[in-house]
Amino acid sequence: MITVTGARKSYGDFTALDDVSLEIPAGTLTALLGPSGSGKSTLLRAIAGLEGLDGGRVVIGGRDVTGVPPQKRGIGFVFQHYAAFKHMTVRDNVAFGLTIRKRPKAEIARKVDDLLEIVGLDGFQHRYPAQLSGGQRQRMALARALAVDPEVLLLDEPFGALDAKVRADLRQWLRRLHDEVHVTTVLVTHDQEEALDVADRIAVLNKGRIEQVGDPVALYDRPANDFVMSFLGSVARLGGQLVRPHDIALHRTRERALQLDARVGGSPGVIEAVVERVVRLGFEVRVDLRADTGERFAAQLTRAEADALALQAGDTVFAHTVQAVNPAEAEPALAI
């Protein structure tokens, strides 16, 4: 369990953390999600002790570590660019934390072998980091962080430097690893898909403040405000309101649209629009539309829906939402 209370940090005029308080329950995998400059990395580094705070406290596992140097916080930290010790072999990298603790050689060897097997790097013991791929290096860095049995595992954009395919694989792998070792894990990411995919809980940060904390479904379905809504998942602006593109339904006739819209509360009503372009993205179909007000928006349909409508550029359609969307009126979801 990690508790941060009233954390503040500025760099000159720039406020990185503005009175941030956050609780991270033991054993969870929590993602700190936000755009660059939102303070998510600063928060993580403050938990690690790599960054000093201007004010506030950090408590890890019941111990107040606010003034404690990173060496003594019992953390494991994984960096975006691996921070591999280039002059050491994979084995020596993973063993580093144990070696400087002067653990018995046999224990170190056993532990390193175990960890390398867990991260799928057995057989690579005697390679140097430069001989590994990016994904392998990051798995080595993870093993290195786990070797000292940290109380918490902190990952700073760990997959940010990898290409999309490797990133997706590692994400799955991290999730499985977490399910095995259950160490309290905090992951910093700017990739909403990554956060939704891997985390139990997500804290959305913006401009040094926490906008909302909750489980992925709650954040997606009941965003506390426009920022959270537009940061998690795509949005369209329909009649002045933010809507998920897959929550827009299209009809050939106004009557049908009105009929169905009446069942949804708080919707912007039925909007007449002209189809500008129909784009098939595999199973999904994106329809680019221009409303009669001149506003442009996109709707996302399934292939079957799109085929049924037989849309063509230039067609006139009637759009309405199928969900109540105004975040202000939605039930508040675990807002801080």
Binding site: A48, L50, P69, P70, Q71, K72, R73, I75, G76, F77, F79, Q80, H81, A83, A84, F85, K86, H87, F96, G97, I100, R101, R127, Y128, A130, Q131, A141, R144, A145, A147, V148
Partner: protein, 308 residues
């Protein structure tokens, strides 16, 4: 090895030096051209590639560089191997070589430690006037060596205002050599330290290593090639140094007379063969040093390529 003037750009003077023991991160020396073969003379630069251009350039370099050194080497063996050996092992000659090497080794070690420390402070510390201090590092390269000698004498010579008299002593010798070789290690370590990945040090700290452990086990190994290359260059430079020691060294045979002073003396008393023989010995030491550095740098480079 006398690079009186260089500097201005961190480490570049070093990259201009022969053995190309490049500080990691510096631009690699001109690699063999991989240009496609073009018909000579089609563009402006084909001309130099043609036999005539190469011939002129080769002739120029031969007359300017190779022939003098050839004349030197041949003269040193004028009286055969025995004569050469006798000239080099003459007691005073041998003593001057010993003084030179001992002083150069001491200076190289001082540089290895102080140069690394200064580079560290310049990169990682922050204090008012840091830019001026940084500029000061290049001064010994820019100053003519005789000026270096005068400058040190004014503080540590017979007229010393603080009463320190290092004139004509071995510490004075070391001081002069330390002055002229100051930039080598600083300028070869500095860029490596700037480029060094701070995350690696943070990773080490997060794993529980103390600052000292982190420096010794994580930072120092990455700096080692640059330290070795800078130290080696400083050594090679110190071996042949003349201008900066000529006034403060004292030229006392068997005590503070360095090899270059001995050589100069032998020319003055018209013993060219002796002068040439010790010169060749000095050249051999310098070349051997640079060859070792080049081999070491090449090894590092190969290792990186293998693992890439």
């Amino acid at each position: 090895m006398t690079t009186t003037v260089t500097g201005g750009r961190g480490g570049t003077d070093v990259s201009a030096l022969p053995p190309s023991p490049q500080p990691p991160g510096a631009t690699p020396p001109a690699a063999p051209s991989s240009e496609p073969v073009r018909p000579a003379g089609r563009s402006g630069l084909g001309r130099v590639g043609r036999p005539l251009g190469v011939g002129v350039v080769g002739l120029w370099l031969s007359v300017m560089v190779l022939l003098p050194l050839a004349a030197l080497t041949v003269t040193s063996f004028e009286d055969g191997w025995g004569g050469f050996w006798e000239a080099v092992t003459a007691p005073v000659a041998l003593a001057s070589l010993r003084v030179t090497i001992v002083a150069a080794v001491v200076v190289a070690l001082v540089n290895a430690v102080m140069g690394t420390l200064i580079a560290w402070v310049l990169v990682r510390d922050d204090f008012p006037g840091k830019r001026i201090v940084n500029a000061l590092i290049d001064l010994p390269f820019a100053l003519p060596t005789i000026v270096a000698s005068i400058v040190l004498l004014s503080l540590y010579g017979p007229n010393s205002p603080v009463g320190i008299h290092l004139n004509a002593t071995q510490p004075g010798l070391v001081l002069a050599l330390a002055f002229v070789t100051l930039p080598f290690v600083v300028r070869s370590v500095q860029p490596v330290l700037i480029e060094a990945d701070r995350e690696v040090e943070e990773a080490s700290a997060s794993l529980g290593a103390s600052s000292w452990t982190t420096f010794r086990r994580v930072v120092l190994p990455t700096l080692t090639p640059a330290i070795i290359s800078g130290t080696g260059l400083a050594f090679a430079r110190a071996i042949g140094e003349y201008g900066s020691v000529v006034l403060i060294g004292g030229n006392i045979p068997r005590e503070t007379q360095v090899a270059s002073q001995y050589i100069q003396q032998q020319i003055e008393i018209d013993r060219p063969v002796n002068a040439a023989a010790v010169s060749v010995a000095l050249l051999a030491i310098a070349f051997a040093t640079l060859a070792v550095l080049r081999w070491y740098a090449g090894r590092g480079l190969r290792r990186e390529e293998d693992s890439a």
